[in-house]
């Protein structure tokens, strides 16, 4: 298998050189075609910043992004629009991603304009099929849909473009545990049936473990560990990954709660 996407030593600094916040520091990774790659990390670790840079929504400070052999680090105008045909996104909050006054049909019709009406109609059917919805949803307004349904519509919208790469930034974090599995299954099916490459960003290691082929671990802007799911989650090497795993609440065993711990963690640095 080959890498469809490569990030080489990308760095993102907010603010000026003196007071700057290093959100992402010298991170390199590759995304294999038809695989799900997951980035995990705490809040503030820079995982969403990576997603936004990959999507071309935020310029990188230094480093190189390569998509299918082409340098896509600094795109603008028409080239960027072309790029967005191949790279699509699903964001965290399905409650604010919709225009409240548009029906789902109207929302999807706007994507249809980009691919042409005839192809569009056909893709509309297919896209809704992949996410397990039918045409009746087209006449609904966003407030008539549940969170899980909205998120599936967002995925269907992204699929209208038949992207090569789908970036899902915390796409399931706002959903109930019971709906979460459905969305993850939709993503798994897309990988298996369409051979789509997916970059999935989450802070939940449980989801990463269920979905991912490869896992990248971020801590304070630095990528501390990467490898296959089995390597990273079941045989973590880095201290941070181990701590992250130890803190995950598990269903069938209580995690160690030590009240003295509290004071150590909370001491000001």
């Amino acid at each position: 298998m080959s890498a469809i996407y490569a990030a080489e030593h990308i760095t993102k600094t907010f603010g000026n050189a003196k007071t700057g916040v290093h959100a992402v520091r010298d991170v390199s990774f590759e995304l294999e075609e038809a695989q799900v790659t997951t980035i995990v990390g705490e809040s503030g670790s820079g995982k969403s910043t990576i997603a936004r840079m990959v999507l071309g929504l935020m310029p990188v400070t230094s480093g190189k992004l390569i998509f299918r052999g082409k340098d896509v680090t600094r795109l603008s105008g028409r080239a960027r629009t072309e790029y967005w045909r191949d790279v699509q996104a699903v964001f965290q909050d399905p409650f604010s991603a919709f225009n409240q006054f548009f029906t789902v049909g109207k929302l999807l019709a706007r994507s249809m304009l980009l691919v042409g009406r005839e192809v569009g109609q056909q893709r509309l059917e297919e896209s809704l099929g992949y996410v397990g919805m039918d045409r009746s949803v087209l006449d609904r307004y966003p407030h008539q849909l549940s969170g899980g349904q909205r998120q599936r519509v967002m995925i269907a919208r992204a699929l209208m473009m038949r992207p090569k790469l789908l970036v899902a930034d915390e796409a399931t974090s706002m959903l109930d545990a019971s709906l979460r599995v459905n969305i993850l299954n939709v993503l798994t099916d897309l990988r298996n049936e369409l051979g789509m490459t997916i970059l999935f960003i989450t802070h939940d290691i449980g989801q990463a473990c269920y979905l991912a082929d490869r896992v990248l671990v971020m801590e304070h802007g630095v990528m501390v560990e990467q490898g296959t799911t089995d390597e990273v989650i079941f045989n973590p090497q880095h201290e941070y990954t181990k701590r992250l795993l130890a803190d995950v609440p598990k269903l069938h065993e209580a995690i160690a709660i030590d009240l003295d711990d509290l004071h150590q963690i909370a001491e000001p640095k």
Binding site: S178, H203, D204, G206, C209, I233, R243, V248, I257
Partner: protein, 290 residues
């Protein structure tokens, strides 16, 4: 230890105009002193509504049609036009609403909120008194005292959540109703918040907690008992270990089976989640363990 809270036959209805929605249908819960009751269920199951009724903050369109709340032997009628004494809110029962950490005013320092909260219950309290009390509470619970002088944007999500939790318990309420307190936090902050809640119970700052969440693994860590709600009713309740390891109601079983944990088996199998279950099974009679 004695019974702390005994809420009986609560029925909460949303009057929406054309169709009334029964969100909580004849639910009774009991909490012993020092216990954490976990309320679990999908969105729309009525768990937040039940929490807010017990926290005495039901407001139209939500109407409590029936129910009594007994805390420490004091009985309070909830239904109809019953008047709830103002002194109960915050001092006897306190609510930590969903997303509380995002409702801190961005232009006010934390100490301003502390003073406002204290003053609304005690007109005579001086600013210094209020702040001293908060400072002491904050340091005993392991937060740096500088949060009092900070603006919300200077605190991380986990710290904001711990701060609002401390403020909501400043008046030493007997019961704290915490609605999804950990859902927006990453795992490390979740763990610290849970440790803090347990420490509050141990130090007797609060005597009981109702922990509303859809996150079952978190409940496994924090709750003494779990009650699972579905369509406004409690379908199963019992001690945490029993609920997690041997759930008997089909709905509880379905909920437990859709939890993803970082264990080797989950990377190999496919979980169907709630959609693969026959919803009509969920109307099975409620199961009450012990």
């Amino acid at each position: 230890m004695g019974t702390l809270v005994d809420a009986r036959h609560i029925r909460g209805v949303y009057y929406t105009g054309d169709k009334d929605v029964v969100a909580v249908d004849d639910v009774s819960v009991k909490i012993e002193e020092g216990e954490v009751l976990g309320l679990a269920g999908e969105s729309g199951s009525g768990k937040t509504t039940l929490g807010s009724i017990i926290a005495l903050i039901a407001r139209p369109p939500l109407h409590v049609e029936r129910g009594t709340l007994e805390i420490d032997g004091q009985v309070q009628e909830l239904g109809g036009d019953a008047k709830v004494p103002r002194t109960w809110r915050g001092a006897v029962v306190s609510m930590l609403p969903q997303g509380a950490m995002n409702s801190l005013s961005p232009t006010k320092r934390i100490r301003q909120l502390v003073y406002d909260v204290m003053r609304s219950h005690d007109r005579k309290v001086s600013r210094d008194e209020a702040l001293d009390r908060a400072r002491e509470r904050i340091t005993t619970l392991g937060l740096p005292a500088r949060v009092l002088d900070a603006y919300p944007h200077q605190l991380s999500g986990g710290m904001k959540q711990r701060t609002v939790t401390i403020i909501s318990t400043l008046l030493n309420p007997r019961l704290l109703v915490a609605d999804e307190p950990t859902s927006a936090l990453d795992v490390t902050s979740q763990k610290i918040l849970i440790e803090m809640l347990l420490e509050m119970l141990e130090k007797k700052i609060i005597s009981g907690v109702i922990f509303v969440t859809h996150d079952l693994p978190v409940l496994r860590t924090v709750a003494t008992k779990i009650a699972v709600m579905y369509e406004g009713r409690i379908v199963e309740r019992g001690p945490t270990a029993v609920m997690v390891d041997e759930p008997r109601h089909p709905y509880t079983q379905a909920l437990m089976s859709s939890v993803l944990a970082p264990e080797p088996k989950y990377s190999k199998i496919r979980i169907e989640g709630m959609s693969s279950f026959d919803r009509s099974l969920f109307d099975a009679p409620a199961v009450i363990h012990g």
